[in-house]
């Protein structure tokens, strides 16, 4: 293989029901290129390595700086963001697969709606809507800020869900990202006001009890969020919350 080209193997699927096929590509190397650049170059000239014209590859990408979460895929067997997957550091041929745990749309594009629906289910926000101005909220202590910041870095990419052996249609589990958001917003001085509702939502079907504590999530998180700490911390909140509900606070 000449050093000035990049080889990729891409798992393609024309639609949710279509059978998966692997296609191989060889494209010119560019210094410091990442997987998204490679995919863009293939899109400019969608011809396989053996010279056969093919359809353009569907994939999602947006910010290109690991903030939006859109370009999560399985690269060389590992779930990660394509934008920070630098070709120089990857073994070739680089294999690209879509995330397995989400419904397939086409090629590398999957439907991550479940993640966003689950964030809605647990009210992962600070309630500020009202009929009049509520004024400024209570202050957050520096200690709480320090704890909240790492939790707030979540980009909803879904890597933690992809690697989770409990995240599937049998359990309907919400997954580490969503539980981490519950911890984050329960820590917020105004967000605290929805604490009980969030914890109740997490005891429903697919709630925090479905966690099998394989601890894969924290290993796969591109933003180094202490996800297993968050699950344990919310478990602790849950024990107190349910104790209070059963026997009085």
């Amino acid at each position: 293989m000449p050093a000035n080209t990049v080889r990729l193997r891409i798992k393609r699927q024309a639609g949710p029901q279509a059978p998966p096929v692997w296609e191989e590509f060889e494209i010119p190397y560019r210094p410091h290129m990442n997987v998204i650049v490679a995919l863009r170059d293939i899109a400019e000239n969608p011809v396989t390595r053996d010279g056969r014209p093919t359809s353009t590859i569907a994939y999602e990408a947006n910010c290109l700086e690991e903030v939006c979460g859109a370009c999560a895929m399985v690269i060389n067997g590992r779930a990660r963001q394509a934008c920070t997957a630098l070709v120089d550091r990857l073994e070739q041929p680089i294999s690209l697969e879509p995330l397995h745990r989400f419904p397939m749309i086409r090629d590398l594009q999957v439907d991550r709606s479940k993640l966003f629906n689950d964030l809605r289910r647990v009210k992962a926000w600070v309630p500020i809507d009202g009929t009049y101005a509520l004024g400024s909220g209570p202050r957050q202590s520096p200690q709480d800020q320090e704890q909240a910041y790492p939790l707030s870095r979540c980009i909803s990419c879904g890597n933690c869900l992809e690697v989770c052996p409990q995240y599937n249609t049998r359990t309907d589990y919400v997954g580490a990202a969503v539980i981490n958001q519950v911890r984050l917003f329960n820590l917020h001085p105004t967000g605290k006001m929805h604490r009980a509702a969030r914890l109740d939502a997490l005891t429903g079907p697919g709630g925090i009890q479905e966690c099998g504590y394989a601890e894969n999530c924290v290993k796969a998180c591109p933003k180094d969020i202490p996800l297993t700490d968050s699950i344990a911390a919310v478990n602790r909140q849950m024990v107190g919350h349910l104790w209070g509900k059963a026997l009085g606070r």
Partner: protein
């Protein structure tokens, strides 16, 4: 995000109240099952005596002399065992392991907990059947306990099966202790989990050693000094 996919929410009693059942499953593994395991391994230590027939027989006699012994057996052993075992299989059925792709330690622990659980369930059902129900009734003849067990252990295949069962139940229990602490929000920090993990490892090795010492003592092999 083109579609608003509506994922089917699992229904049925177990799914709707799964928080309760999952936490009950976690709790029964520690109390009463784990507590019984401590008692069981300690009682079996009677075989380490220089007069094992009497010591072992006296232990069985004492346990069977406890008031309400049948109620205790049903409420503290058989019912939680049946629930923990059967619901555990149900939980294992929901798993979609990915160890070949992600060979992290915790991921192997997750898989082994399910595999050992299934094997241990088979072992315990067999053990309860052969020791408690089949053959001579030990509650009626406590001093035949030693010879009944020794007869089993004389068969090398059965001895090997015991060693496997003892090792796996020790593993399953000690890793269960580790998981329990995380699932009940006791070990929140990574340092706490790491330290607790070491303690659980020591507990697991201790159980394995004690169990194997008792099993081998039936063959006259003493890896622990006789009392």
């Amino acid at each position: 995000m083109s579609t608003t996919a509506t994922t089917p929410v699992p229904s049925g009693t177990f799914a709707r109240h799964s928080y309760f059942w999952r936490r009950l499953h976690s709790l029964t593994g520690i109390v009463p099952l784990g507590a019984f395991l401590v008692e069981h391994f300690a009682s079996n230590g009677a075989v380490l005596s220089r007069t094992p027939v009497e010591s072992y027989g006296n232990t069985v006699k004492f346990l069977n002399s406890l008031p309400y012994v049948l109620v205790l057996e049903i409420l503290l052993i058989w019912a939680p065992l049946a629930f923990h075992g059967i619901y555990g299989l149900w939980i294992a059925r929901e798993a979609t392991p990915n160890n070949r792709r992600y060979g992290w330690l915790g991921n192997w622990g997750y898989l082994f907990q399910r595999i050992t659980g299934a094997i241990v369930l088979v072992f315990i059902v067999w053990h309860v059947w052969t020791a408690r129900f089949a053959g001579v009734s030990l509650p009626d003849h406590p001093f035949l306990s030693y010879s009944k067990m020794a007869a089993q252990m004389l068969n090398p295949w059965i001895l090997a099966w015991f060693l496997v069962g003892i090792t796996l139940v020790s593993y399953h229990f000690s890793y269960g202790l580790y998981l329990f602490a995380a699932k009940w929000g006791i070990t929140v920090s990574p340092g706490a989990r790491r330290n607790w993990g070491w303690i659980c490892l020591i507990i697991g090795l201790g159980f394995t050693y004690a169990g194997i010492a008792s099993a081998l003592a039936f063959r006259g092999i003493h890896i622990y000094p006789m009392r």
